[in-house]
Every structure is written in structure tokens, then in C-alpha cells.
């Protein structure tokens, strides 16, 4: 029984967060899962064009990493960014509307899946360029330090991105300037088709932290509490003005890299093995085990998430398309410059 255990045997997340916060975290994880499924389904039904990168299987990393952030804190995200949006309190209707290319979408239909952002909530945006968000996150941390806002920036990136020069330059600058940024590498074993073994000359990506004299930790990215424990400590450190950290969340994407992936580079066994380690199932179990939710409560969250997604899709579907005449709007802040 949880209440008879010693404090240190109680998982960090249970100690650190209120039942409401934890319930909300699980709610977000369900929302991400259902969002991705809804997006996939819409794609199959031809409602969405282009490409998309689903993060099913990685929900604990997105939600766990953002637990100690406020709307003042920033994140930079990646091409696989839907989960980060939801974790940072995005409006699901605006997300779907963006997918559907609507004027009501986060990017007014100009950006699509790879560019959803929500500056008001501190989400500086997904990025179509692998590694593109890394120096931008460092810049946001520089602003926070100079302007004294106390804000922290979490920079999400993938294992593949860790081999970009931008990774090296960004971590080095952040460390030399002691900036309040936390680099969260979501290591899902592959950059597209290329495994970390074939792309990355180090066992754990967090081991690269040594090269920047910053703390580095590798954690089970499907374990919500483990993610929260590691990232919260790094966020607190950053807030204390002690500089950046590198956290590596080991996780897995269940789906292909994008819609055109034929999964030739990995086995069915590997996929099903990882599906057996569903972060939502373990988070649900954690909350039930610690008396925070009942099984029915979990089921209710899931149903609720389905309804939210349904409503979001309806909102998106009913929304107007952008006007083609306005295609060059927003190239510049002051419009005549576009002429």
C-alpha cells in the first residue's frame, strides 16, 4: 500500500505533484495519443495532406518534461512536435485546424504540422529543420537571463539531431554563457531509418554532456516519474542560474517516421516489444497504484480525450480556408514591405 511505504520508495512524481496535477498529466497523455490517432485517421481519409510525424509511444517524455514549466517558460520543439504542443497547453481545435490548412489554425493554414507554435503559451514552435530549434532555444534562454524574467527554456530534439553541428554549437554556447536551458533529447532509437548505433559515436547521448561540462542523465523516457524527476531537477538548476543540462529520454515511436515509412530498418518484434511498454499504461497504473485515480477514472479520462478530439476535428472541419488573395500576408510585419 503506498501510504505505508517509506518516502523514498514513493516515485518522485507522486511526491512532487498534486493529484490534480497528475491527473491532468495523464489527461494530456491521452489527448496526445488521441490527437495522433485522429490525425492519422484524418490523413487516411484524405482530410490532411503533406506529411506528419506521430509521437505515439512518446507521451511520457513530452508531458513529463513540461511538468514544472509555466506559460512564461519556453519550449522549442521538433518535426515530431504534437505532443510538446499539448504538453504546453495548446488548443486542440487550433491544432487540427492547422492540419486541415484552415485560417483558424495555429499558423492560419500556412505552417502545417511541422510549424505549429503557440507563443502565448511559451511554445516557440515545431521545426522542419532537424536541430533547427537548438540555437533558438539558447537564444530564448539568453533573453530570459538578460531580461531577468526567470524563465527556463526546454529544448526538445531527437537522437538524430544530436549529430548536427547545431547541437554542438548550442550546448557549448549555453554552457559557456551559463544559460537557463534544458536540452531534452528524445532518443527513440532512430533518426528516420538510421539507428543511433549507425549514426552516433557514443553509447548514451547524455554522455556527450561531459563535452560541455554540464550534467547529463539518461532516463527511461516512458516512465513519467523518471522523466519528471530528471527534467525537474535540470529546470530547477537552470532557474537557480546554474546553467544548462542535458537529459536523454529513452523512448520509442510506434508509428513509422512519417507516412511514407515502410519500417524496413526495424523488426516487428522490436515494435511490439516497445508497445508492451506503453507509457500511458504505466502512468495509469502509477496513478491507480497510488490511489490517485480509479480504473474507472482512467477510463473516463480516455473517453473525455476522445470527445475533445472529436470536437476539435469538428471545429477544424467547419472552419474556413484562408483566402488565396492573402497568400503573401505575414511575410513582413508591416505589410507594404511585401510589395
Amino acid at each position: 500500500m503506498p501510504d505505508t511505504q517509506l518516502e523514498q520508495n514513493i516515485p518522485y512524481a507522486i511526491r512532487a505533484y498534486s493529484p490534480e496535477q497528475l491527473t491532468d498529466a495523464l489527461r494530456k497523455m491521452f489527448l496526445i495519443r488521441k490527437f495522433e490517432e485522429g490525425a492519422e485517421d484524418s490523413y487516411t481519409r484524405g482530410l490532411i495532406h503533406g506529411t506528419m510525424h506521430l509521437s505515439i509511444g512518446q507521451e511520457a517524455s513530452a508531458v513529463g518534461s513540461c511538468m514544472s514549466l509555466t506559460d512564461e517558460d519556453k519550449i522549442t520543439s521538433t518535426h515530431r512536435g504534437h505532443g510538446h504542443c499539448v504538453a504546453k497547453n495548446a488548443d486542440l481545435g487550433k491544432m487540427f485546424a492547422e492540419f486541415f490548412g484552415k485560417e483558424t489554425g495555429y499558423c492560419k493554414g500556412r505552417g502545417g504540422s511541422m510549424h505549429i507554435a503557440d507563443p502565448a503559451k511559451g511554445n516557440l514552435g515545431a521545426n522542419g529543420i532537424v536541430g533547427g530549434g537548438l540555437p533558438i532555444a539558447v537564444g530564448a534562454a539568453l533573453s530570459a537571463k538578460r531580461l531577468g524574467t526567470g524563465a527556463v527554456t526546454i529544448c526538445f530534439f531527437g537522437d538524430g539531431a544530436n549529430n548536427e553541428g547545431a547541437f554542438h554549437e548550442s550546448l557549448n554556447i549555453a554552457s559557456v554563457w551559463k544559460l537557463p536551458v534544458v536540452f531534452v533529447c528524445e532518443n527513440n532509437k532512430y533518426g528516420m531509418s538510421t539507428s543511433t548505433e549507425r549514426s552516433t559515436a557514443v553509447r548514451n547521448i547524455a554522455d556527450r554532456a561531459v563535452a560541455y561540462s554540464m550534467p547529463g542523465r539518461t532516463v527511461d523516457g516512458n516512465d513519467f516519474s523518471a522523466v519528471t524527476e530528471a527534467v525537474d531537477a535540470a529546470v530547477a538548476r537552470a532557474r537557480r542560474g546554474e546553467g544548462p543540462s542535458l537529459i536523454e529520454n529513452l523512448t520509442y515511436r510506434w508509428r513509422g517516421h512519417s507516412k511514407s515509412d515502410r519500417n524496413r530498418y526495424r523488426t516487428k518484434e522490436e515494435i511490439s516489444d516497445w508497445m508492451g511498454r506503453d507509457p500511458i499504461v504505466s502512468m495509469s497504473r502509477l496513478l491507480v497504484d497510488h490511489g490517485i485515480l480509479t480504473n474507472d477514472g482512467v477510463a473516463a479520462l480516455e473517453t473525455e480525450a476522445e470527445q475533445v478530439i472529436k470536437d476539435a476535428i469538428e471545429f477544424a472541419a467547419a472552419s474556413p480556408y484562408p483566402k488565396v488573395e492573402e497568400v503573401t500576408r505575414d511575410v513582413y510585419t508591416v505589410q507594404e514591405a511585401a510589395e
Binding site: 493554414g109 500556412r110 510549424h115
Partner: protein, 336 residues
């Protein structure tokens, strides 16, 4: 795709034609290697390398880490020292990360070293819009590299040409940059069997005509041909020139056409300002063909904005067949 192609001839897609060229070259010359992201078992983001890894192994079809600058530089170094690398950028947009190695190194090292070395490097750039991948995955950046002496820059528009130009690029001792339009990858057309080369630096007249010259690049060649068909129905006889090479540009073919027609419309997908059409136009305007011009030189290029995601907006930012028809009609209207 090619109006003159007898139907009995063998057809391949543009992607297959590229693959066939690489296959021929690799079979003939051990020094030819492929480098790029996910070009091995994945077969390339656009399935251009396809199964080549199974035929030539991972030593010759090399998946690089996601390191465009490093990968490009490794290719430059390998080309300098005896290999013949073909480097694939997954999208041409990512070449923005590698401009240093392409422009400061590959393009200049021969000159900077007084001719002591050559850089027999081929790079491939999947380009252009039309896939709904938005602003960072849809650019047409050939004008950047066309501005750089030391490089050769081509934009083949047909399966036949892309095979022949890729093989010509591999024979070339200098760095050749091949801009391939993603939407062309699935287009089929006649491709001769076996080994042949298509010269770099020569434009092709795809349709002869006497009223107006349309000089187009890449996918715009096909839109221009469609426009020309429509215009023929309205009594306007357009000549359609496929530029094929941005650098070195085939001035003579373009000028001969303009001398004949007296009118010029340039059609390209890259951003209009400082895009390839600016050079075509300026080259004609400073030549002796200027005296033959009966109307302003019109450019149809990409809109002055990033490529948007929404498919209708996406179409609106690049020239379409009706735009070409209309532009040509306007140019021809004031016949002198």
C-alpha cells in the same frame, strides 16, 4: 512528357532514371559511392536510391548521420582524393546547412590552388513545392548555386535528361549540382537503355514556335508545354525552351529563339526576385537580341513569400499553366 516519343519506347519514371544512371556508374566504376541520409535500406526519402544498397552494400551506399555540413564536406574530401561521390541532400532546403562546403570549398578549391586539384563531386537536391511540406521543405534554391563560379548547376526536366545529365556529371571533373523537382520523380518518360550522356550547358528546344519564346526550367517546362498547346488553339505559336543548365547557361539557344520570336517569357519556380529568370532576362536584355525584342520580357517566378502549407495557397505561389497562358497572351497582344 516528350511529344516526340514513339509509344513503343521504354518508359521509366524520373526517379528510376536517376537510379539507373547511378547503377550503371557504380557497376562500371568502383570509385563511385553514394552518400546521404536514409539512402540505404530506407531507399531515400523519395525512393530514388531504392534497392541500390542491396546491390552495392553499405560501403558504397552510405547512410550518413544527420550532418549535412559534415557529410557534404566528407564528400568534398573524398572527391579530392580519388572517389567519385554522389551526395544526396534529403531536401534541397537542408543544403542551407552545407553552403560553406559547397561554396567556400568545393566550388573554389581548384581555383584557389591554382589548378592543382579537381573536385569531381555530384550533389543531388530534391527541390520544389507541391508536396504540402511547407516553407522549410519546398524551396527552389538553384539561383544561389547558379551565382557561384566553380560549380555547374543543372535542372533536368525529363527522365531521359536526368539520366544523361547525371552520367555527364559523373564524367565531369568539376562539381555538378543537380536540382531535381520532387514532383517530377514519379513522372514517366522515355529513357534510352544503356550508357549515354546529355551535355551540361545545352538548352533544348522542346517545341518550336515563331510567336514567342518561353524559357522554362525543371517542372515549369511541362507547364509551359501545356500552355503552348492551349495557346496553339488560340493561334499563338510558342517556342518552348528547356534551359536545363543554370550554370554555364546556354546563351546561344535562348538568343537565337528570341531573335526569331521577338518575345520572351521566363518561367521558373524559384522566388521571382533574383531567381533564374532574372538572369535569363538580363542576359537577353544586354545581348544583340535586345534589338529584336518587340515587347517587355516577362518573368513568371515564385511569389515573394515562403511556400505555404495549405494546398490552394501552395499552388498560388508558383506559376501554373493558366498563368503562363495569360502572360504569353499579354506579351503577344501588342504585336508590332
Amino acid at each position: 512528357m516528350n511529344a516526340h516519343t514513339p509509344t513503343a519506347l521504354r518508359e521509366l519514371s524520373y526517379a528510376e532514371a536517376i537510379r539507373e544512371a547511378m547503377d550503371l556508374a557504380m557497376a562500371a566504376d568502383d570509385r563511385v559511392i553514394l552518400m546521404g541520409e536514409d539512402i540505404g535500406v530506407y531507399g531515400g526519402a523519395f525512393q530514388v536510391t531504392g534497392d541500390l544498397v542491396h546491390k552495392y552494400g553499405t560501403d558504397r551506399v552510405m547512410d550518413t548521420p544527420i550532418s549535412e555540413l559534415g557529410g557534404a564536406g566528407v564528400a568534398v574530401g573524398a572527391a579530392l582524393t580519388g572517389l567519385r561521390p554522389i551526395f544526396e541532400f534529403q531536401f534541397s532546403d537542408f543544403a542551407a546547412l552545407a553552403m560553406e562546403q559547397i561554396v567556400n570549398q568545393a566550388a573554389k578549391v581548384r581555383y584557389m590552388l591554382g589548378g592543382a586539384v579537381s573536385v569531381p563531386l555530384v550533389m543531388r537536391f530534391p527541390s520544389g513545392s507541391g508536396t504540402g511540406a511547407a516553407a522549410q521543405h519546398s524551396q527552389s534554391l538553384e539561383a544561389w548555386l547558379g551565382h557561384v563560379p566553380g560549380l555547374k548547376v543543372v535542372q533536368p526536366s525529363t527522365p531521359e535528361d536526368v539520366k544523361g545529365m547525371l552520367l555527364a556529371a559523373l564524367e565531369d571533373p568539376d562539381p555538378v549540382m543537380i536540382f531535381e523537382h520532387k514532383i517530377l520523380y514519379k513522372m514517366k518518360g522515355h529513357v534510352p537503355e544503356g550508357y549515354y550522356t546529355t551535355p551540361i550547358g545545352k538548352a533544348a528546344i522542346r517545341r518550336a514556335g515563331k510567336d514567342v519564346s518561353i524559357v522554362a526550367t525543371s517542372i515549369m517546362v511541362h507547364k509551359a508545354l501545356a500552355a503552348a498547346e492551349q495557346l496553339a488553339g488560340e493561334g499563338i505559336d510558342a517556342e518552348v525552351i528547356d534551359l536545363r543548365t543554370v550554370r554555364p547557361m546556354d546563351h546561344e539557344t535562348v538568343l537565337a529563339s528570341v531573335r526569331k520570336t521577338g518575345r520572351l517569357v521566363c518561367v521558373y519556380e524559384g522566388v521571382k526576385t533574383l531567381g533564374v529568370g532574372a538572369e535569363i532576362s538580363a542576359m537577353v536584355a544586354e545581348s544583340d537580341a535586345f534589338d529584336f525584342l518587340d515587347a517587355p520580357i516577362v518573368r513568371l517566378g515564385g511569389a515573394e513569400c515562403p511556400v505555404p502549407y495549405n494546398p490552394e495557397l501552395e499552388k498560388a505561389v508558383v506559376p501554373q499553366t493558366p498563368d503562363i497562358v495569360e502572360a504569353v497572351k499579354n506579351v503577344v497582344k501588342g504585336r508590332i
